[in-house]
Symmetry: C2
Amino acid sequence: MSSAQKSAAQKSEDVRHECPVDAVLRLLMGPWTTYILYVLRTQGPRRFGELKREVGGISAKVLTERLRMLEEARLVHRDYQATIPPQVTYSLAPRGAELNPMLDALKDIALRWQTEDAQAARPRQAAE
Amino acid sequence: MSSAQKSAAQKSEDVRHECPVDAVLRLLMGPWTTYILYVLRTQGPRRFGELKREVGGISAKVLTERLRMLEEARLVHRDYQATIPPQVTYSLAPRGAELNPMLDALKDIALRWQTEDAQAARPRQAAE
DNA sequence: TAAAGTAGGTACTTAAAAGTAACCACGACG
DNA sequence: CGTCGTGGTTACTTTTAAGTACCTACTTTA
């Protein structure tokens, strides 16, 4: 964020009222966020440890950060069972599901571009 | 990016083949990117200086970075006229336009959530 | 002659994000 | 008794991105 945005954010609530799209994109940005949502979307509710293993390579710190952020944004739901050992299950909240059509549209575009770029990168394949 | 992703990226081309969505999101992430696309989408083709003034607060360095990135991703088109002084005009490329439906859907969600959150934040408004 | 506008490039600094490693309580298991 | 697994937290380090300031070359204008 720029200093201009920062100072503006101190006066009003947040500069992103000019661009709410940014606020949502900020949720999806980090290196692991879409992975986490993808696992929850496709595999269903998951515990912390399962999530950590399935995402593969993520640290507990970052996973916690992401989950806290997604929870605060109400994209995921956190279910804490104070058993011994404690069981914490994360699931996709209704708001998370609201993103599905948009993410699917984005996925279509992304796959199409990927294919186009791959073909443009190696036209030699056509001759072989 | 994690070290696990990095080492994987050295073996294959890029880890993002697992998640092309990430690749597209990475284009839209930076603090100013959606602003720039927004200006180009709504105001039409713009010169570098115009863009810099209209975005408001962005530095020439970051604007250049973003435009180069968007140009490489073929979301914007760069038209360089070697006049004195040189005129460089940026416009939305076809691929940039392909994002429109998705961005509009994202905007709908973002606006809805913003409204919901604002109402949830101050329920006192209902009593007044 | 000096400033302003054209479209950036370069060097340096700073701030934020990500990664790494160690640690906690607790109980089961060997 | 020591380690594993639960779900994290904390402190520290590294990496990356962003910001700031100054520079180019050329022309027009005051």
